[in-house]
Symmetry: C2
Subunit: 330 residues, 2 copies
């Protein structure tokens, strides 16, 4: 591979000049610049990123740590982040399957020298620990979890869930089942809390038989819905902890010949792209996921740019109630 030295030799200049040309330094004659450019192209030279970032201490890469890559949620998130990164000439290093503290710690470690900043999304409680004993100067943004002294963006899960359940209650439902997310999951816990709060505020007694645990996948939603079909008296509404499970539930209900929303209403959370195309279209709490990702990236870049006098902030983005036919007969 061609190195900067090869180019320097061929162009009859020093490596410093070649470097200056490639970094747009004004300290180069126009003539020299052109000559170096031409030679670079001729030799097919492109700077070695590792070498460059070793000496310049910048990588032009930001890391994204995700618990998983399954489903549209993460896809949208990455898209939002990438959109912002792209604009600034940054690349994305994606690492997934980091659910446990130890895995996250390992992943965070392995990012040293690879990235200029990190977006960490992990719904597991305590996920922020490994992040906190990173050097304070290293820019990190937590997504979906908050921690003192660390930048974070979280979704107003509880408020969103509460509003959705209030909507169901307003529609006359009293027996409202919930398909919970995994129990170690922060978002899941908050959404459950919103559900309980709405019920208790409406004076509806709690019935543990209506709480079914899922794992945020569509198949678990399917199974959960089948369980809910057997409740007595049967639930008249299902609030799923996320859209994927709601979609699964719709499938189970339709297979069982249940009319939606006449017999059972169904609502989800997230507003993934497919939600508007299900049958019937799914009521949900909209979180503009791509926008969330983009916002996260913007915030991270701020931190990267400042990275001295930067003060951590936490930000909570509200969800928006989207009522579609799955809870609202025409």
């Amino acid at each position: 591979m061609t190195t900067i030295k090869d180019v320097a030799r061929a162009a009859g200049v020093s490596v410093a000049t070649v470097s200056r040309v490639h970094n747009g330094s004004p300290l180069v004659t126009e003539a020299t610049r052109r000559r170096v450019r031409k030679v670079s192209v001729r030799l097919g030279y492109s700077p070695h990123a590792a070498a460059r970032s070793l000496s310049s201490k910048k990588t032009s890469v930001i890391g994204v740590l995700l618990p998983d890559l399954y489903g549209e949620f993460y896809s949208e998130l990455i898209r939002g982040i990438d959109q912002c990164a792209q604009q600034r000439g940054f690349h994305l290093l994606v690492a997934s399957s980091h659910n446990e503290r130890a895995e996250i710690a390992a992943a965070v470690q392995s990012m040293r020298g690879r990235v200029d900043g990190l977006i960490v999304m992990s719904p597991a409680p305590g996920a922020h620990r490994p992040v906190k004993d990173l050097p304070a100067s290293f820019p990190v943004l937590l997504l979906g979890a908050a921690s003192a002294g660390v930048d974070s963006i979280t979704v107003a899960n509880e408020a969103g869930a509460r509003e959705m359940v209030q909507h169901l209650i307003a529609k006359g439902h009293r027996r409202i089942a919930m398909i919970l997310g995994p129990k170690e999951n922060q978002d899941a816990a908050e959404r459950f809390e919103g559900y309980r709060r709405a019920l208790s505020e409406a004076g509806i007694p709690e019935d543990a038989g209506l709480h079914v645990i899922g794992d945020f996948t569509d198949t678990s939603g399917y199974d959960a819905a089948r369980t809910i079909l057997n409740t007595t008296p049967r639930a008249t509404a299902i609030f799923a902890g996320n859209d994927a499970m709601a979609v699964g539930a719709l499938g189970a209900l339709r297979a069982a010949g249940v009319r939606i929303p006449e017999d059972i209403a169904v609502a989800g959370f997230d507003d993934i792209p497919m939600s508007r195309y299900t049958h019937p279209p799914l009521s949900t709490v909209r979180v503009d996921i791509a926008a969330l990702g983009e916002r996260a990236a913007v915030r991270l870049f701020e931190a990267v740019a400042n990275h001295r006098r930067h003060r951590a902030r936490r930000e909570v983005v509200p969800g928006q109630l989207i009522i579609r036919a799955s809870t609202d007969s025409p």
Copy 2:
């Protein structure tokens, strides 16, 4: 940040020994190993990736160049690739929005020193040019495009499309519309070709009025379906170039009060996860996208491992006809 020198000093050994410990060299006394380990942990040392890859010439990263990140297709693909990479301790560098030749060339360039290998997916014809004037020793795998002398995996688009249209013909349809993909798109062109072939083999004359151009997004499918509703005599079946457009078409047809499949049958291509949950569930040509990604990664790693005596191969994976209710009344 702690460097290898700090650790060496604190542990009273040389940098070479520290390096050996971290790379699992057998040339270290058990006692020394333990001491170095302990000091490393105490100082919170983790090796600087850029430095490491500069001297070792390995990055433990593979690059993925995609035209876009929108929709489940790419999400699934990344998931498949990541699954394989993860196992081998590799990270993924994702770059998207590379549709034109020049952009691809730039992206490929910028990967030097960043990745050990590259998976390039670009449906634009000629996308492989920039890849070909990479040093032959650099492992690249083309996805969805083939080129002599370069590893590649492609989907049997034409065969899959042909089978699907044959299925529609078998169901008695004669006026079968197709929603095409973008016309520069290779996959789109091949699927169109399969469609035409099936028709001509069945002796059905071509009707350009039944060819509507879309851009692989659901909204374009929606619009296309509205156009198709106005054909006279009206088409009785729609074959969409991908599932996203088919999903959009379903939405338009339902909004227009058309029964599916009784009035108009609809089929797609890809079998994205949502296809089985649409109403009615969508007939499609299944391409196991995650498996495709995983396969691509496996192939790439083979090339990375060998990268001397490696001979390029091209591989075509067949699609599988999935018949669901959208083309098949019970």
